[in-house]
């Protein structure tokens, strides 16, 4: 059943492309996303804790031991649900796309299909294939429909979009090149019989090999997860993308990277995180290196967001900061830290989607500026109160206010960090404080600025129904998970305790 999330999305993409009218393409896209979301919800309803559902497992390329193996454990299902929610909301927020509408939704749905495919693949080759399928639509979504700040109009606007799109595509592809090399090496080293993740996880690679392949594959995936210092594609890409694509990029695509880090790099090469046995610059293992990079990302992303003038860049850098929590949670190697990391993937996906929806669709499409200083005098809190309220709630969720999903996730990551590397928690604390600061700054500057005396009030078009529905969907999700996190943790924790992650646990969690 779950496999149909992929097929439905591909069929929907074709149907949207062939549809003769724009309105029909929109309806097809929405219907496709809703059906996929529905499939995910049905699976959630029937889910037994600790379950591992094999959807399909047939030989694909027997000569190389490659199978067409789609399956789901709790982590996969969590992210499938996220994809469904983010995709649906993204379509609601791109209801106003008029330029080459059919193609827009076709590319959008192909991207979604690739994302579903990654989360459901349990064959490394298949996972990688879906991972790369997602790259090309991203490029075209940004290069054709991207948004650009007003001051860079005309000829320059196009080149900025294309720059961001190309940067994103090349970063993704370079990252996946590292993964490909590592993947081929792992396949050869394991005897060349199988690409199945289960088989590779059960194979005992030599520690030396794991030490070499772990950083290769981890970095390859972490590029897409926005790990500092390879994050620079993220702010430019997010800012240049059309709203729906920003929502997907921040909401789902960055999760592909984090998911790959967990599912491939960490699950297959757990010994790669062991101490090297010597120290370089105070680092004793890859685990410490990546943990420190994650923390730098948290603090750096938040600090840079604090000084941005462009509203969309604020959110773009905040994504880098919040994804830092995911990577940090992974590197704690504690049960609670990993649980927090997966939960943060879900939570950030929803919240970032919401923030980008407010900035890109509700505000920018009405005011045609993203400059915080220019937005202030427009008194948006009065002009579009719905957007202001949404942003306040999303901001609260983003800074980790209890009651929202962000709190549960980041709190767990913090506990994990405390157990694993105690002193680093203090630095993360600083990052959280800066996070509160930049959210507050953006909020007051954009929505509660002082009106310029004498300036005429701008009448802005009211918030449309699709926008309200999309915002409510995302808000409801973050509140639900915030108030009752067990809905997800009951799936994630048993998955982390399954035999697949045996190597990571080494018998017991810290």
């Amino acid at each position: 059943m779950l496999a149909w999330t992929i097929y439905v999305s591909f069929i929907g993409a074709l149907a949207a492309r062939l549809s003769p009218w724009k309105a029909l393409a929109r309806m097809v896209a929405l219907l496709t996303a809703l059906v996929s979301l529905g499939i995910g919800l049905v699976a959630l309803y029937h889910w037994q804790p600790g379950q591992f559902v094999t959807v399909i497992d047939i030989q694909w390329i027997p000569q190389l031991g490659i199978d067409y193996h789609l399956a789901a454990d709790g982590i996969s299902l969590t992210l499938v649900l996220l994809t469904g929610i983010a995709a649906t909301a993204g379509i609601l927020f791109s209801w106003n796309v008029e330029k080459r509408t059919q193609e827009f939704f076709a590319f959008y749905l192909v991207l979604i299909a690739g994302v579903y495919g990654v989360f459901l693949s349990f064959d490394l080759f298949l996972l990688f294939a879906f991972y790369e399928i997602a790259i090309i639509p991203k490029y075209f979504l940004i290069a054709i429909w991207g948004s650009v700040p007003k001051d860079a109009a005309g000829e320059n606007a196009g080149s900025q979009r294309e720059y961001a799109a190309m940067k994103l595509a090349l970063y993704s592809f370079a990252g996946s090149a590292l993964v490909l090399a590592g993947m081929v090496a792992a396949w050869v080293a394991s005897g060349g019989h199988s690409m199945s993740l289960e088989a590779l996880a059960a194979f005992h690679f030599s520690t030396r090999l794991q030490m070499g392949l772990f950083p290769l594959i981890f970095v390859g995936f972490a590029v897409l997860a926005g790990m500092w210092p390879l994050h620079t594609w993220a702010p430019t890409g997010h800012a240049a993308a059309p709203t729906a694509a920003s929502m997907l990029l921040a909401g789902v695509v960055m999760k592909l990277g984090a998911y790959g880090c967990l599912r491939v790099a960490m699950m297959l090469f757990p010994a790669g995180m062991d101490p090297w046995g010597f120290h370089v610059l105070g680092f004793g293992s890859w685990r410490e290196v990546f943990a420190v990079l994650a923390i730098i990302g948290i603090v750096y992303g938040a600090s840079v967001a604090l000084v941005q003038r462009d509203f969309k860049f604020v959110i773009g850098y905040s994504s880098v900061s919040h994804m830092g929590f995911v990577l940090l949670g992974l590197m704690t190697l504690t049960q609670i830290g990993l649980d927090g990391a997966v939960l943060q993937m879900f939570s950030h996906g929803v919240i970032a989607g919401l923030l980008f929806a407010v900035v890109g669709r509700m505000v920018y499409n009405r005011t045609h500026t993203r400059d915080l200083n220019a937005l202030g005098p427009m008194r948006l809190a009065h002009a579009i109160p719905f957007a202001a309220v949404t942003f306040i709630l999303a901001g609260m969720a983003s800074i980790g206010m209890p009651g929202f999903s962000g709190f549960v996730a980041e709190f767990q990551v913090l506990i994990g960090t405390w157990r694993a590397f105690a002193w680093m928690t203090a630095v993360v604390g600083v990052g959280i404080l800066v996070g509160i600061a930049f959210t507050w700054r953006a909020l007051t500057k954009a929505f509660f600025g002082e009106p310029t005396p004498g300036a005429a009030e701008h009448a802005l078009p009211p918030i449309s129904l699709p926008e309200k529905l999309g915002a409510l969907l995302l808000l409801a999700t973050t509140l639900t998970v915030g108030l009752y996190p067990r809905i997800l943790t009951d799936m994630i924790l048993p998955a982390l305790n399954s035999p697949l992650f045996e190597g990571l646990r080494r018998g017991a969690w810290r």
């Binding site: 294309e162 490909l180 090399a181 050869v188 060349g192």
Partner: protein, 491 residues
């Protein structure tokens, strides 16, 4: 010398003879009966004869005895060589069909006949393990290709391209012949298996190394591997589009196959070892260097190109580097990977040139990348085909190029213990990331740029469209189900 019975010779080379007869037939008809007919009629009938000849030959190949050989390894047919021959015939048919919409020449009979003669040369090339016949077939092929390159007599570029191709080709022939003569001198035989048996020994003869380098240079020219690639950009740019597609597709397949035969069979005992630790001299290290250079030069130089054809030429040089990886593996899986890669590459390359050819009009040619701006509006079908071909060349799943790369990487890593050639694979994957940049530059013009506002839709003849769709469908199909081809070339 063993005696060859002529009846055997006739029987075994019947498919080749059929193609030759088809070529002569269409040449004669075109020069006599159809002299006064309209261009379209002449093209149609000539193409029909050519395709019929190729189909008949392919039919014979699939239904003949599976395995036989003539004395002196003159003619060695195995299921594998037969498959390659059928693939070559298929490429020829597609090339002939693509050339039905060409405007380059009035000498239709000669053009198509030359394509068929080149095909015959390639068919002999893949089915022999005899140095003498390899050399003769290779020269036959090269001469046909030189003429095909210079066939557009109205264009100075075409003539220049042909001259460059000819001069470089002639030089490479010299190297090749010198290398082959050394091999003969060392082993006393011109049969590949016997050469391998004769030159084996505990230490490599320095003279053998010279022979290896000479042969590598000779074939390096033929397959356009760096640093012997200088002819390729000019030839691809100046040659008539269909000829360029033919050079990029069929002749690549045949040249790489025979290169694989010479290296893997004739020099099997002098392979050497190409990793840094445990380095041993032999042809593997030589090819490692050539492959690495090709991947770097081809992919980096392609970035700077403004002409689509030159870009494809440099990308072909890069791809030659990847194909050399398959040779370096020198294992059954390496051969299989090489064949898969080179066949799927040929599909995509022929398709890409086919699209360019379809855009070629006597009044407005397409050469600069910027000329493609807004193509998606003027020709949505062609644009989609070009998207498929270029993304396959870039190695994006689910297209055939992706599996080809993956397969060839696994083969080359597997070939040496302890992942010795990981450095080469890492270089290859990094360069494939570079390649995405320039393919996307082309696709950006096609899909993102708006182009002239009043541009008219482009009309493409039905046959051309059909061929391009078949090629695109094959690229997708072989990417989604590589087993279809792997079952036949051995996995």
């Amino acid at each position: 010398m063993n005696i060859v019975s002529y009846s055997d010779l006739l029987r075994f080379t019947l498919p080749e003879i059929v193609v030759v007869v088809a070529g002569l037939l269409l040449l004669t008809l075109d020069l006599t009966v159809l002299r006064q007919s309209s261009r379209e009629k002449r093209l149609g009938i000539a193409a029909l004869i050519a395709c019929a000849g190729c189909l008949l030959a392919a039919h014979m190949l699939t239904h003949a005895v599976p395995q036989y050989s003539l004395p002196d390894s003159m003619f060695v047919v195995t299921p594998l060589t037969r498959l390659v021959q059928v693939a070559l015939l298929a490429f020829t048919i597609l090339t002939v069909l693509l050339s039905t919409s060409t405007h380059i020449t009035g000498n239709i009979g000669e053009y198509l006949a030359l394509i068929l003669f080149a095909t015959v040369a390639m068919m002999f090339l893949v089915a022999t393990q005899n140095l003498l016949l390899i050399f003769v077939a290779l020269e036959f092929l090269s001469l046909s290709l030189y003429i095909l390159t210079g066939f557009d007599k109205r264009s100075r570029d075409s003539a220049e391209a042909a001259l460059k191709y000819f001069l470089f080709g002639g030089m490479s022939t010299g190297f090749l012949l010198f290398g082959m003569s050394l091999l003969y001198g060392l082993s006393g035989s011109i049969e590949l298996p016997q050469i391998a048996a004769a030159v084996s020994g505990p230490a490599l003869d320095p003279l053998l190394l010279v022979a290896i380098v000479m042969v590598a240079i000779g074939f390096g020219f033929k397959v356009a591997a760096a640093p012997f690639h200088l002819w390729a950009p000019d030839a691809y740019q100046g040659a008539p589009t269909v000829s360029a597609g033919f050079i990029a597709s069929s002749s690549k397949v045949a040249s790489f196959f025979v290169f694989g035969q010479v290296a893997g069979l004739g020099l099997a005992t002098a392979a050497g070892y190409g990793a840094f630790r445990g380095y041993q001299p032999g042809w593997v290290p030589v090819l490692c260097v050539i492959a690495a250079l090709s991947m770097i030069v081809g992919n980096v130089a392609a970035i700077a190109q403004t002409s689509v054809r030159r870009l494809l030429a440099y990308s072909a040089i890069g791809h030659a580097g990847y194909m050399l990886l398959g040779l370096i593996a020198h294992s059954p899986r390496g051969t299989s990977a090489l064949l898969y890669y080179v066949i799927t590459y040929a599909l995509a390359a022929l398709g890409a040139f086919g699209v360019l050819g379809a855009l070629d009009h006597p009044s407005e040619g397409v050469d600069r990348i910027a000329d493609l701006a807004g193509l998606y509006r003027r020709a949505p079908g062609l644009s989609l085909c070009l998207l498929v071909f270029l993304l396959s060349l870039a190695g994006i799943p689910p297209l055939a190029g992706f599996f080809g790369k993956f397969y060839i990487f696994t083969a080359v890593l597997e070939s040496e213990p302890h992942l010795g050639l990981l450095w080469l694979v890492l270089l290859a994957v990094v360069m494939s990331a570079v390649s995405l940049y320039y393919y996307l530059r082309v696709l950006k013009q096609v899909y993102v740029a708006d182009g002239a506002p009043n541009a008219k839709p482009i009309r493409t003849p039905l046959v051309t469209r059909l061929v391009l769709w078949v090629l695109a469908a094959l690229v997708v199909l072989l990417g989604c189900a590589p087993g279809l081809l792997l079952n036949r070339i051995g996995g």
